[in-house]
Amino acid sequence: MLILESVDAHYGKSHVLHGVSIEVRAGEVVGLLGRNGVGKTTTLKAIMGMARRTGGRITFEGRDLQGVPPHGLARLGIAWVPEERRIFRLLTVLENLRTGLDRPGITPAHRDALLEKVYAYFPILKERRHQAGGTLSGGEQQMLAIARAMMLEPKIILLDEPTEGLMPRMVAQIQEIVHALHRDGVAILLVEQNVPLTLDAAGRVYIMEKGAVRHHASAVELRADPRVIHEYLGV
């Protein structure tokens, strides 16, 4: 469904991605592991058209993303949950959700059903729906970022380090939601530093180093043989 073929990307003059090839099939959860600064976030940004792509090809359901405007990706079914969460801080929780909900062609009934579904996953967001996004705790903001992406009813979610800096209880909740999305048939490209969580949630895993994919294996293999993980991630 989502295919990156030898993607190169630059920030100004610095060459960050060197021929990254990744594939995510429909409904699949794919992990992307790697140490700090290896280019995981940049890979997601390249998909979103936010990093300057200087080589290779990115296609989604056979369609080259080159000519798609930045706001057109959501319509195609690609949602992004950035590392910094990027909640609209002055918008209330509900207004944050509405940025993805107020789409052309959505019926009021469908809209309400979607909201209720997300509130069922994240009751705390319902409780705080009239509160400004900026006043939420880190974990709540992460939930809001995921919930906001879900409003688009995406085919794939690009999920960038969702558990970074969260308390264990919150991490467990995020893990649960990843499973739930998977059950719903949503594909996920999961960037993580949390290896156990990634190996639990993902079917396949890519490991990056210095801007390139160095290893690709199923989660089952990696669980059975942790040496690779140790080599590239030092854990």
Binding site: P70, L91, E95, D102
Partner: protein, 286 residues
């Protein structure tokens, strides 16, 4: 004492018109990070369009509506043709472009309507007596109408679907795009709304002092001052600052001549820049 009351009323009325001009300017600044130096000229153009419609139909309220719609469309076209191609460039480039647009509009107005003052008759006749002074009802009506229009804008931004698009884009353009909000269209829309507000202000202000081809710059300057004083891009701040500065000018006019009273707003501007560059009416950012 009665002089103070009269000047308070005067300041409030002027403040409401200024608030309407400034709210368009601050909305555009908040979302696009540019000061639109053609804002006052769009106001002037709106006033001329309004004066022409009044001239033909005699209907002031129709003129207000037509001016707002015509200038909104013009604003949208201006944004698409001259500002949209500059998105992502140095903001200075865009600001210079608005300056160019300002000059073009002024010269056009001079060519089209000539240098003389055009009058717009007051749509609400009659005066009321305030102490020793006859105060026109029209000015009160203007202040009320400006207040209603600003409230309408506020409600739209607060509850409307497109209002949420505008606020989200103002806060984080990249994230807004990722959520599927068509940001280029939002920019054009905001520019159109700002232009319509300017044009409506021009028609509202028209009966006060007439319409001239040079009236725009004064409004751009005054609106710019209150936008800075109120905190760039902060709508509520700009509105409060408009009223605050207009009241101060009004009071100053008791002791000095009105022409000198204008200096008060520059003093407020300079003091704000020196001591509270984020604006008088916003909480100090952490």
């Amino acid at each position: 004492m009665d002089q103070i009351l009269v000047q308070t009323l005067h300041g409030l009325v002027n403040g409401m018109v200024l608030a309407m001009v400034a709210s368009g300017l601050t909305l555009i600044f908040g979302i696009m990070d540019i000061v639109n130096f053609a804002h006052g000229d769009l106001l002037m153009l709106g006033a001329f369009v309004g004066a022409s419609v009044v001239g033909v139909t005699g209907n002031y309220w129709l003129a207000l509506l037509v001016a707002a719609v015509v200038i909104a469309i013009l604003g949208a076209l201006l944004q698409i043709t001259t500002l949209r191609p500059l998105i992502g460039r140095d903001p200075l480039t865009t600001i210079l472009a608005t300056f160019g647009v300002s000059l073009v509009i002024q010269k056009y107005a001079l060519w089209q309507w000539g240098p003389s003052v055009r009058r717009i008759n007051e749509p609400v006749p009659g005066d009321f007596t305030l102490f020793h002074l006859q105060y026109p009802w029209y000015r009160i009506a203007t202040a009320v109408l400006a207040g209603l229009i600003i409230t309408g804008l506020w409600l739209f931004l607060k509850y409307g679907k497109y209002g949420i698009w505008i606020r989200a884009t103002t806060q984080d353009r990249v994230m807004a795009q990722a959520m599927g909000i068509p940001v280029p269209l939002v920019y054009t829309g905001v520019f159109a709304i700002g232009s319509a507000m300017a044009a409506a202000s021009g028609v509202l202000f028209g009966p006060f002092a007439g319409v001239t081809q040079t009236m725009g710059f004064d409004f751009t300057l005054r609106a710019f001052i209150v936008v800075v004083v109120g905190g760039m891009g902060n709508l509520a701040g700009s509105i409060l600052a408009s009223i605050f500065v207009s009241l101060l000018e009004s009071y100053a006019a008791i002791v000095v001549s009105p022409a000198q009273a204008v200096i008060v707003s520059f003093v407020v501007l300079v003091l704000t820049m020196l001591f509270r560059p984020t604006g008088l009416f916003v909480p100090t950012p952490k």
